[in-house]
């Protein structure tokens, strides 16, 4: 187990720059998730860490050792692939022990290790089967077993759950998390699924266009997105972006909201809006901050109750999503399913702006930092 430092790594293919100077460092035992839309460079970065692709510039350090130009097999890492990449001609047992065999571990030790891993992942009964005879979930386990058997310093997971069906994915997600807690290994995990990122990570690196947009704990990234992209990418349903005029009331900049009536919402950091009075900014408000009126919140600062017109409702069981239009933008609100909200009716909703964020409309830059 080891720490990992990625120091200003750049990767170019001819003229195109795939990675534009990545800086990430994680501590021993940390679970880092690289998340981003396809083509953001996360898989390239993963391959660079593994040594399967050369970097054009920068350094990669594992356990404080510079491995930038070390071959993959000498980096002491293991990887779980999206396609599992199990050797089709070998049994599960041979698959798991292949890496040990290549490292000249004696047969008896290999057998012990295979048993340990198989018990850990509950695949002992599958050891004699070929990969073709396994289900998707079982293959996934074997692929993880192969990585675990070598006890490497660093584990890389390249979208390991994306080939599983929804139910199995949630199960395996939990299992990976348990496994990490149990073994305390250092893991780098690539996904495009932001829920996976939120649930698994100690730290998340949100990537786009070959750059790290934000590196932080899941909660930091959720509550305090660095820019419009991160805010929109993380969270489901996504954050609402409402174009709002900044107006001044009693010397304090407020955000104007036009529903069936027009109200001005207070903002926790009014000073950051000073320069924008008379202009329009993007107000970012998570769906759960727009709810039915809640008595215990009544009278708190940054809470405003106003009328909205319900366009559509989407009952999700625990909550009901209410779609409405505010300032000509479609927004999602999360309300109690008991709260009466018929499509077409006008109802009272509570806007809590205590965790609201604002962005520049053009650049997507966060304004209130």
């Amino acid at each position: 187990m080891a720490n990992l430092v990625i120091d200003n790594v750049k990767k170019r293919y001819g003229e195109t720059e795939i990675l534009k100077g990545i800086n990430i460092s994680i501590k021993t035992g940390e679970f880092l998730i690289l998340v981003g839309p396809s083509g953001c460079g996360k898989s390239t970065l993963m391959n660079s860490i593994a040594g399967l692709e050369d970097v054009s510039e920068g350094r990669i350090l594992i356990a404080d050792k510079d491995v930038t130009y070390t071959s993959p097999k000498d980096r002491d890492i293991a990887m779980v692939f999206q396609s599992y990449a199990l050797y089709p001609n070998m049994t599960v047992e041979q698959n798991i022990s292949f890496g040990l065999e290549m490292r000249k571990v004696p047969k008896e030790e290999r057998d012990v290790e295979v048993q340990r891993v198989a018990e850990l992942l509950q695949i002992s009964h599958l050891l004699d089967r070929k990969p073709a005879q396994l289900s998707g979930g079982q293959r996934q386990r074997v692929a993880m077993g192969r990585a675990l058997a070598r006890r490497p310093q660093l584990y890389l997971f390249d979208e390991p759950l994306s080939n599983l069906d929804a139910k199995l994915r949630v199960e395996m997600r939990t299992e990976i998390k348990k496994l990490h807690k149990k073994l305390g290994t250092t893991i780098v995990y690539v996904t495009h699924d932001q829920i996976e990122a939120m649930t698994l990570a100690d730290r998340i690196a949100v990537m786009k266009d070959g750059q790290v947009q934000q590196l932080g704990t899941p909660q930091e990234i959720y509550d305090n997105p660095a820019n419009l992209f991160v805010a929109g990418f993380m969270g489901s349903p996504a954050m609402n972006f409402i174009p709002a005029n900044v107006v001044e009331q009693d010397g304090t900049p407020m955000l104007e909201l036009a529903t069936s009536t027009t109200v001005a919402l207070p903002f926790p950091k009014p000073e950051s809006l000073k320069d924008y009075v008379g202009k329009t900014v993007l107000l970012g408000l998570r769906p759960e901050m727009i709810t039915e009126p809640q008595p215990h919140k009544e009278g708190q600062p940054f809470v405003t109750t106003t009328d909205i017109e319900v366009e559509v409702t989407e009952p999700m069981g625990a909550d009901t999503m209410i779609l409405t239009r505010v300032n000509d933008a479609e927004i999602n609100c999360r309300s109690n399913p008991m709260y009466p909200a018929a499509a077409g009716s006008v109802i009272k909703m509570m806007f809590d702006t205590s965790k609201a964020v604002v962005f520049d409309q053009e650049s997507g830059k966060r304004l209130d930092v």
Binding site: P72, K73, F81, Q82, S83, A85, Y87, N89, F98, M102
Partner: protein, 294 residues
Amino acid sequence: MSNKAVGRKTSGLDKALRVALYTVLIVVAAFYLMPFIVMLLTSLKDVEEIRTGTLLSLPASLNFDSWSKAWSSACTGGSCGGISPYFMNSFQIVLPAVAISTLVGALNGYVISLWKFRGSDFFFAAMLVGCFIPFQVILLPMAQTLGWLGIANTTSGLVFVHVVYGIAFTTLFFRNFYQSIPGELVKAARLDGAGFFTIFYRIILPVSTPIIVVTVIWQFTQIWNDFLFGVAFSGFDTQPVTVALNNLVNTSFGGKEYNVDMAAAIIAALPTLAVYVFAGKYFVRGLTAGAVKG
């Protein structure tokens, strides 16, 4: 009602059509088999019977004299030892040539598909051109090359020619087959600590059986049946069976012995026939393997 729907009702017309279909199929099959049947019948007759009977008339008795003559005592050009020595020559050429060209093709395909390097696509395209080079074009340059290498008129020389000419095809076969193998497999093996040849030998070759069979059949048939290279690059002692067969048929002491000619021709064709019979199942499977993946 439902019971009747299960068994399809066959009307008289359906039956007639079916009979017609099978008749056509049998006639066509017989037509295609005709040359072989004639060869077989003729090889079993003696010279007298051939002269008096028709092409398709059956032999009076099963007479294998012409076969043994073709094998061990018929005259081919100068010598009169039958085609058996040349039959063995052919094996000495074909076996190493097939083995080497298949192995090199597998390695080439492995590199081009799974260890892409700068220019590997161009390299493959250039290889592909090799499939379209007519035999005649390389005769003179190859004769020169064999001379320089000091293996002109030898079995090794012929093996060399067939390997060089065959690699374009074998590479194409293996490359196309390996295209369907996910690159992650090689990545996983590299991380596991396996090197270039270990991955090839332990992971790639074991899943290559279908394409190996296809390549072996293809190469075996091509090289065994080759006449041009055989006649151009072989010495007197190293002629392959195809050349010997030609000499046998063209050598005339007295009358033409069609029965011996036919027997020799069948003997010369037997190995390829055997290969098809034993491995034909894999041949079809291997050819379609790339298309349906797995």
